[in-house]
């Protein structure tokens, strides 16, 4: 330690020196470890997150594809959609995707069906 004007007088220095460090009330590591483990997502948790996100995305894509094929290729026995209706469908479909709502897409499908039917 450097000696300087800022050193304590010897009597006070003794008092500082003899103050033994106190022991903590409880060992600190278990608490720190628990908090650290709480910070890190476990492999299982990250797997379940990716599973949830992935399956959600797949379900949405499947729903949209189902609607597309259902509307654009109505199948045997149904008349093909007229070009005006097709244009309206594709135009509205774009805005439905822009809105990002499968419900909007579904209501569009229902509307188109009722227009075709009328």
């Amino acid at each position: 330690m450097n000696s300087s004007h800022s050193d304590l007088p010897p009597d006070l220095l003794d008092l500082f020196a003899e103050s033994e460090p106190s022991a903590p009330l409880r060992p600190m590591w278990p608490h720190v470890q628990a908090r650290l483990r709480g910070d890190r997502p476990s492999p299982r948790r990250s797997w379940s997150w990716s599973w949830a996100v992935g399956s959600g995305a797949l379900a949405t894509a499947g729903f949209a594809i189902g609607l597309l094929f259902g509307a654009g290729n109505p199948g045997a026995g149904n008349p093909p959609a007229s070009s005006a209706v097709e244009e309206s469908f594709w135009g509205d479909l774009g805005s439905s995707f822009a809105e990002g709502s499968p419900f909007a897409l579904y209501s569009l499908y229902e509307r188109l069906e009722s227009e075709e039917g009328s």
Partner: protein, 178 residues
């Protein structure tokens, strides 16, 4: 520390067990409360583990550790809006008390209590500087790193802290004598 930064829990555990005692003692004297010192000590090590990747091996580990502890202690003091300890009696230390002190031991005990009370009345920054210097035996360079200031500022802080401490001690001794 390098092992800890790579996520080695055993290394962190060894680090915490090696340093928890001096960190706790420092925080008890900074905060005047063993419970709060325990909380802030745990927070210090948690912060240390989380920020391990930012540690520069060429720096002094001890300065870095006590910088975290000091910052957290001052934040706690500001939160309490109490810059001085209310009481700081013998009970904050773990010293065994086999019986009532007598003679010379009584005198030392009283002087120790006076020192603690005088320390408690110092501004937090001055108290922190004195503790780093005289409790932990840090060099002025280490203290400067811990406080994020220059060595000359540390020298000045220490001189002011000692001046204040002497005045407080005189005043408390007069109070005791009267």
């Amino acid at each position: 520390m390098a092992r800890g930064a790579r996520g080695d829990e055993v290394a962190f555990q060894a680090l915490v067990e090696r340093w928890e005692r001096p960190v706790f003692a420092f925080l008890v004297r900074m905060l005047g409360s063993r419970e709060e010192a325990q909380d802030v000590g745990q927070e210090t090590f948690l912060r240390l583990c989380r920020e391990a990747e930012r540690y520069q091996p060429r720096g002094q580990f001890r300065s870095w550790l006590f910088r975290i502890a000091g910052n957290l202690a001052r934040t706690r003091l500001r939160r309490r809006k109490i810059i001085r300890w209310v009481t700081f009696e013998r009970s904050v230390h773990d010293r065994p008390a086999p019986g009532p002190p007598v003679g010379e031991e009584l005198e030392r005990e009283e002087r120790r209590t006076l020192l603690n009370r005088a320390l408690a009345e110092l501004p937090a920054r001055q108290r922190e500087t004195l503790l780093l210097r005289h409790d932990l035996g840090m060099s002025q360079r280490e203290i400067a790193a811990a406080l994020g200031t220059s060595e000359s500022a540390v020298e000045s802080l220490l001189q002011r802290a000692l001046g204040t401490l002497r005045r407080k001690l005189r005043s408390l001794e007069t109070e005791r004598a009267s």
